[in-house]
């Protein structure tokens, strides 16, 4: 391999590390109007009167918009391929407000200070309703959160809005109770995973302008430019051709920007006023008024026979959709496919949840997308089962682990695991952590115990049979190349990975390839970067587009050199005949192709979607120190081995893993969205919402095993999400091993660990 596996620097490093204009806010035109949002102080209410007269008189205020001014077409902001499985249950501004912080009015002014002056002068009368603040009491609650008659589903997702059910899912295979009755060991437990915030360092922001053709141009910090274009087109009632969406460099996403957030407001204001406008959320708004991971309360039963075979896995949850159904169904369903197949010797499984509307901030996408949530109860329960049976928890897992070529009860008919060095990864993680030669619990001093815990994880690579990527690669008029993609580099380095795949295919050096991305006027359709799709799906489309271009280039060389193209060798820069008599560079060829009657401008174009979503695999082993007096858990070491197929860029894959593990540590030990009894978010800044700092994480050790995935290009799978999935259960197991304390609620903050220590 010439380029794959190399640790190239990211192609945007120089720009983003020098302070040059690169991110959305850096490009806001100086004459753009500032938009501020007046927000609801109530968790659930109807606006009965809204008076904007006094506010409009504030100097500098250009316009104020309320629910009376916006189009009445409901939409979803979920960044998913059409037809989205998320309910169309939103308006740009709604007469009903459904959580504290929901939008009430848009104040548009020449600057931020004028807008802020006007905001308190808007007088709103609310009819306040009893809010639904506990997902366990949401179903058939007297308050119906979405009582509107025009709420729309594209197809049935088990929703019943009049009962506050956004959607529901149940998959049962086999006879659960009969199989459980045959088991020698059954563990049963409840586990709760909390709502968490993606916390990209760049908050949500968008500006909009009108171009010279009177079209709407939206520049936004988004993972999904094409989905944003479609959603805005629907909401404003205009065609996609009237809209251009551009994503500059963005300051992180982690799924938060797979859902529209700020885009609608400048889009609406600018389209209405035909003037540029912008909105930048502060951290308070970003934490309070976007989308979070869905909280889930699980009940799990796992049954095994005395030979150590897991016969039954039964997982039932209640899930909190919050105020809107964005990603409500698919975050749940995705979790099944990425957890249960790990242990495929089962005779019966159930995976089931009602996902209910509440008056919380809406749920959405967060790295791991349901798999993180599902693997938390499953892996904790497997560890509990190993303890109950008195066997090594890795041995139990190995005995039940799916093998290559095998299917699982939760797989689709005919689906098998096509690749994966699962056992090799486990062996490597054991060696890294010295698992076999050390106790799983040890005394550090009179106050502290040490422990080791383990968890396994799958994820997917793209969304099978739904998402597909299109890529175009052109040879420019000087013989260099440009690749056009609608995938979105959000810092993970996908532009660099795609450039490596393209250069691997064409053979050229990296400096001959430029990747241009995420501008809907310029690049072909791509759903965007989510679902661990870019390196696998867009990467395979990249290879196919480059194959096509290469073929065309060889044809042209053959024509001009008057030789059979099949006799030519090509390295991306030049061709030569075997006998060395004829040679020519792309630099010499390209000008000939863009002039004269024999001109033939060359481009390769490919669209590719997969029929499967090959699972990357990860083993995580956590080593922690537990303070018996306070319950404080300190991560000491984390050993991570990932099988993401062929590693495209070792450095970037390593940093993905380290970053994912640490986000997982945040979810395991520190981060949680908390509301007051009135539904007011209490964790709306980084003082109260605790992101891990560099002193809170211990040392992360990363390695890879490389299986070869046969379905896409170059054996590649994915890495972006699988890496967040093991931290919570591995740390839970480490605490359990260290102290015997079984913590079943996330995050495992000192109070909870201390209580568990008292209860053991």
């Amino acid at each position: 391999m010439k380029h794959l596996g190399k640790s190239y620097k990211k192609t945007d490093s120089t720009t983003i590390l020098s302070g040059k204009a690169a991110y959305t806010e850096d490009f806001i035109p100086s004459n753009a109007l500032c938009i501020k949002v007046l927000r609801s102080p109530h968790a659930f209410a109807k606006i009965v009167d809204i008076n904007i007269e006094a506010a409009l008189k504030v100097p500098g205020v250009e316009a104020i918009y309320t629910y009376k001014d916006v189009p009445q077409t409901r939409f979803t902001l979920a960044g998913q391929s059409y037809p989205e499985p998320s309910a169309y249950d939103m308006l740009i501004l709604d007469q009903v407000v459904r959580y504290v912080g929901d939008e009430v009015a848009l104040v548009v002014a020449v600057d931020e200070r004028s807008a802020l002056k006007a905001m308190p002068l808007i007088k709103v009368k609310y009819e306040v309703y009893e809010p639904v603040l506990d997902m366990h009491t949401a179903i058939d609650h007297p308050s119906i959160i979405h009582a509107e008659d025009d709420l729309h589903y594209n197809f049935p997702v088990g929703g019943d809005p009049k009962r506050n059910i956004a959607c529901s899912y149940s998959h049962v295979v086999g006879d659960l109770e009969a199989e459980l009755a045959k088991c020698d060991y059954v563990v049963e437990e409840s586990y709760f995973d909390q709502a968490t915030l993606q916390s990209a360092m760049e908050t949500f922001r968008t500006f909009a302008t009108i171009d010279q053709f009177n079209r709407l141009v939206i520049t936004s910090s988004t993972q999904v430019p094409f989905h944003i274009r479609r959603h805005v087109a629907r909401a404003l009632g205009i065609s996609a051709a009237q809209i251009r969406v551009i994503k500059p460099r963005i300051g992180g996403g982690f799924g938060s920007k797979q859902t529209g957030c700020t885009e609608m407001f400048p889009a609406f204001v600018t389209w209405k006023l035909k003037k540029p406008s912008y909105i930048v959320y502060d951290r308070h708004e970003a934490n309070n008024c976007s989308t979070s991971r869905h909280a889930r309360d699980w009940k799990i039963r796992v049954g095994a026979t005395k030979d150590g075979i897991i016969q039954v896995i039964d997982m039932v949850a209640v899930s909190d959709a919050g105020a809107h159904g964005s990603h409500a169904l698919t975050t749940f369903t995705a979790g099944e496919h990425k957890s249960l197949p790990l242990y495929n010797k089962t005779k019966a499984i159930r995976y089931e949840s009602n996902v209910v509307y509440t008056n919380h901030m809406p749920g959405g996408a967060f790295r791991g997308y349901g798999a993180t949530e599902a693997l938390w109860p499953l892996e904790c329960a497997i560890t509990k089962l190993a303890h109950t049976m008195g066997v090594d928890e890795i041995e139990l897992r190995l005995k039940n682990l799916i093998g290559v070529g095998e299917t699982a009860q939760s797989f689709h008919p005919g689906e098998v695991l096509a690749s994966g060095l699962l056992k090799e990864a486990i062996q490597k993680a054991k060696e890294m952590s010295n698992w076999d030669n050390r106790p799983k619990s040890w005394k550090i001093d009179d106050r502290h115990m040490g422990g080791l815990g383990v968890a396994l994880a799958f994820q997917g690579s793209g969304i099978a049979n739904i998402d597909s990527a299109s890529v175009e690669v052109r040879m420019l008029d000087d013989g260099t190349y440009m690749l056009f993609t609608g995938s979105t580099d959000m810092g993970q380095g996908s532009n660099t990975a795609l450039a490596q795949i393209a250069c691997e295919t064409l053979g050229c050096p990296m400096d001959m390839m430029v990747v241009y991305e995420a501008d809907t006027d310029v690049v072909p359709f791509d759903p965007g970067s989510y679902a661990s799709s870019t390196t696998y799906v867009t990467g395979t489309a990249t290879k196919l587009a480059c194959d096509e271009l290469k073929e065309k280039i060889l044809q042209e060389f053959g024509r001009i050199l008057e030789v059979d193209p099949s006799t030519l060798s090509f390295d991306g820069e030049k061709v030569w005949t075997e006998d060395g008599s004829k040679t020519m560079t792309t630099k010499e060829l390209a000008p000939k192709l863009v002039s004269g009657p024999k001109g033939h401008y060359l481009s390769g174009m490919a669209t590719w979607g997969s029929q499967t979503s090959p699972p990357p695999f990860m083993v995580g082993i956590a080593e922690v120190k537990v303070d018996l007096e306070t319950g404080k858990v300190t991560p000491e070491n984390y050993y991570a081995v990932v099988d993401c197929g062929t590693v495209v860029n070792r450095n970037l894959a390593t940093v993905q893993t380290e970053g994912g593990v640490v986000q997982g540590i945040g979810m395991a030990l520190y981060e949680e969205i908390r509301y007051s009894s009135r539904g007011v978010l209490e964790t709306n800044n980084f003082m109260h919402y605790k992101l891990p700092t560099r002193l809170d994480i211990g040392n992360i050790h990363v390695d890879f095993v490389e299986s070869y995935e046969p379905t896409g290009a170059y054996g590649i799978k994915s890495i972006g999400e699988v890496v967040i999935n093991t931290s919570c259960p591995a740390i839970q197991g480490a605490i359990l091993n260290a102290t015997g304390a079984e913590v079943t609620t996330l995050p495992m903050i000192p109070e909870r660990v201390y209580k568990a220590l008292q209860n053991k």
């Binding site: 760049e202 970053g659 980084f686």
Partner: protein, 151 residues
């Protein structure tokens, strides 16, 4: 109000609001390396130097900067380029949004404590949050930077 502000060695007249914070002033002047991540002094993205010491510009009133030397990443471009290279070689830039603020802390560290241990580096940079990297690659890059730095 109009004040004299010295940024990166250049004195200039600047028109500011009385309650304006240095972060806003610097961004208005086009110093885009200075970014807002939280507005509650928790994240470190807006780190600049006041008379050579790291300071959170989101909580530093601009009028207080009169008579002091303000330095942004743009003002230490040569060291910044070297550190940027060390970080990029480890893939430690990722989204890059927090990195420039962290770099201001790291360059200050390299001047004050060129022989800092790993634990000292972590403690010094603890106020600079990062959501992408998990911090380990920062350490690899900074170690390389400190090791290769000639004083």
């Amino acid at each position: 109000m109009e004040i004299m502000l010295q940024v990166n060695g250049v004195k200039r007249k600047v028109l500011i609001e009385t309650d304006e914070m240095l972060l806003e002033t610097l961004r208005n002047l086009g110093f885009y390396s200075v970014r807002c991540g939280c507005d509650t002094t928790n994240c470190g993205l807006c780190t600049v130097w006041v008379d050579g010491d790291p300071m959170l510009s989101c909580a530093y009133p601009t009028f207080r900067a009169v008579g002091h030397e303000i330095t942004t990443l743009e003002g230490v471009a040569e060291e910044a380029a070297h550190l940027a290279d060390c970080l990029a070689e480890e893939g430690a830039d990722q989204c890059g949004y927090c990195t420039t603020g962290m770099m201001m802390s790291a360059i200050a560290l390299s001047r004050k404590y060129p022989n800092a241990t790993d634990e000292e580096i972590k403690a010094y940079l603890n106020n600079n949050l990062c959501r992408c990297t998990g911090y380990e690659s920062h350490m690899r890059g900074i170690r390389k930077f400190l090791g290769g730095k000639t004083l």
